[in-house]
């Protein structure tokens, strides 16, 4: 099952970059038109999402519940601008549906619903739910000795939820090498910096202490993300935690590393400026 949008192998990184640009533009258009959303987190997560869907995961959008598929759990369920854009781009539903974001009766709720949209594995929104569910998926794979992988993307502020650490314990205990956690480490939560709120550092040491293999990478470097996420987990004997160092609002100058864009929405002038920058 190759990634459907997979390009010629000789420019995989270039293609991922092109997909990421498209996702940033399309998701920001969604937020602008709906005048709602979480664009700062959309932009910090975009490069991870583009790398997973266009360079790493095996899936068939025409058979979204194929038992052999790799799973992706979007734990930071508020970042639906980026998530829906990547799902549409990957072929799970028509790109035109993105224009219904947040409208009455739209399948594109503010937080993803697996019963509305193919490609959504579990309903998220409340924080700290994705990793424990992904853990369960990975355990099912472990019981069956199946070769699918399970990926989950969390925010970093989200790690203040205790449920993550329950799951971290069992993930390490069961040596779930088929499980990969990616942390969107943009260092900003809704109201302030994580380190000024309930500090997470040293984050890599915490995951190592729970029995995970840790990789710390630039979360906007497609080549590096591709390298660590596509490496075979076989024989590692541990779940993988990728700490993706990112910036909230990455790609647009006035949003960059700016907490105001957690759920800020753009004016017409801001939208037009962002579109001029996202090229």
């Amino acid at each position: 099952m190759p990634s459907p949008a997979a390009p010629l192998k000789n420019d995989l990184v270039g293609d991922i970059a092109a997909q990421a640009l498209w996702i940033r533009r399309r998701s920001f258009q969604m937020v602008y038109e709906a005048q709602q959303g979480h664009p700062g987190g959309d932009f910090s997560a975009t490069d991870v999402l583009a790398t997973l869907y266009f360079g790493v995961m095996r899936y068939d959008p025409k058979n979204p519940r194929d038992p052999k598929r790799d799973r992706f759990v979007m734990s930071k369920g508020h970042c639906t601008g980026a998530f829906y854009s990547v799902l549409a781009r990957a072929g799970y539903f028509p790109e035109a549906d993105l224009s219904t974001y947040m409208e009455p009766l739209s399948k594109l709720n503010g937080h993803p619903n697996r019963n509305y949209l193919p490609g959504v594995e579990t309903n998220t929104g409340p924080l700290g739910h994705g990793l424990p569910v992904a853990l369960g998926i990975a355990i099912a794979g472990q019981i069956d000795n199946a070769d699918f992988r399970t990926f989950v993307l969390t925010g970093d502020g989200e790690l203040q939820e205790g449920s993550n650490w329950e799951a971290a314990l069992t993930g390490g205990h069961r040596k779930l090498e088929n499980l990969t956690l990616i942390i969107d480490r943009n260092r900003l939560q809704q109201g302030a910096r994580t380190e000024e709120t309930a500090s997470l550092d040293p984050l890599d040491d915490k995951w190592r202490a729970f029995g995970w293999h840790v990789e710390v990478v630039d979360g906007h470097d497609h080549a590096k993300l591709l390298e660590v996420l596509s490496a075979s987990p076989k024989g590692r004997g541990k779940p993988l935690c990728v700490i993706a160092n990112t910036f909230k609002g990455k790609g647009v100058s006035f949003m960059h590393d700016n907490v105001a864009w957690h759920h800020g929405v753009p004016t017409k002038e801001q939208y037009e400026q962002a579109m001029r920058e996202l090229v």
């Binding site: 019963n115 579990t122 739910h129 853990l135 998926i137 099912a140 794979g141």
Partner: protein, 319 residues
């Protein structure tokens, strides 16, 4: 499928029935797994663990992950039975039950063990008399409160056969096997009338059903004809049976639960919008004082005498 043996004097612990049934089902359905939070012994799953060690997932004392892992296992094609003390699998993990199980609408079976006031003297932290009120709000989550070992086994089989989220509330209180007509069947959403009657209807479930039957016998000796309905499914309710109950002109509900928002609340919601009649809800008023489960039942009138008296008083309110 072997029925669990009675412990003493013809009384049964329904957890034995749960354990025997899940082991038998797992023999023929390799998708069935159990998920526990250090709750192997309290769920009586020692036998399952011995037979299917690789199909028991123990996440440790971590109920949020317990419930979420159930959702993940269902995603991976399993039919998980997630089992822990009812007070913790509901209250401690309520948002996981809401978002990961009910709202996600996944094929997970939640088993609330040792429900109600079974833990007696251990007190309200360990009682689970709020669980039905909490869970009843999730409209697509089937809620079953079996009354005896046969119904517990049938509820577990029905939960396994149903493709969707189910909560089964299992008691550890000793109960007798109820008398039923030959060929009785259990179906999710269908109540059973155990005693016919015309003057009033007692609607009960779980450990209160055999007490309701005893109360009806007491009343019959006085010339009062009380119907007894075992409303084992709290969601969805058997509304036809409740409507029929209203025709007797008086309804008393009895449950090992708070009087707020459980079976009584559910029945009242139907009665007020169909055929309002005098009603009485028997249960616990809230946090209860120290006492054994047996003492608590007697103290709050959840026995033959208390139920019979409530029926007399409710009949007296008929116009």
């Amino acid at each position: 499928m072997s029925a669990a043996a009675p412990s003493k004097a013809g009384l049964f612990d329904c957890r034995d029935s749960f354990a025997a049934t899940i082991e038998a089902l797992a023999e023929s359905d390799s998708r069935i797994v159990t998920v526990v939070s250090d709750s192997v012994g309290s769920s009586k799953l020692g036998g399952f663990k011995k037979k299917f060690p690789e199909r028991m997932v123990n996440v440790g004392i971590a109920e949020q992950t317990l419930v979420a892992v159930g959702a993940g296992l269902a995603n991976g094609g399993k039919v998980p039975f997630v089992s822990a003390a009812s007070c913790f699998i509901t209250g401690r993990a309520l948002e996981q039950v809401k978002a990961d199980i009910a709202y996600s609408n996944v094929n997970v079976k939640l088993i609330g063990q040792s429900s109600g006031v079974a833990y007696g003297e251990l007190g309200p932290t360990h009682h689970s008399i709020e669980d039905l009120a909490w869970l009843r709000l999730f409209n697509n989550l089937k809620l079953i409160v079996p009354a005896d070992p046969w119904q517990t086994a049938e509820a577990i089989k029905a939960a396994a056969a149903y493709d969707g989220p189910v909560f089964v509330r299992v008691s550890r209180m000793a109960v007798p096997a109820l008398e039923r007509p030959e060929g009785a069947v259990f179906e999710i959403g269908k109540a059973e009338t155990l005693v016919e009657g015309t003057d009033a209807t007692i609607i009960a479930n779980g450990t209160m059903v055999h007490r309701a039957v005893a109360a009806a016998k007491t009343l019959a000796a006085e010339g009062i004809s009380a119907r007894v309905v075992n409303m084992a499914t709290v969601n969805p309710l058997d509304e036809a049976v409740i409507a029929a109950a209203a025709e007797t002109g008086a309804i008393v509900t009895v449950e090992e639960h708070s009087v707020r928002g459980g079976l009584g609340g559910a029945v009242a919601e139907v009665v007020i919008s169909t055929n309002p009649v005098p009603m009485r809800i028997l249960g616990f008023p809230g946090f209860v004082p120290t006492g054994s489960a047996a003492w608590l039942f007697d103290n709050f009138g959840l026995n033959e005498t208390g139920i019979a008296e409530a029926v007399r008083q409710t009949i007296a309110r008929k116009k």
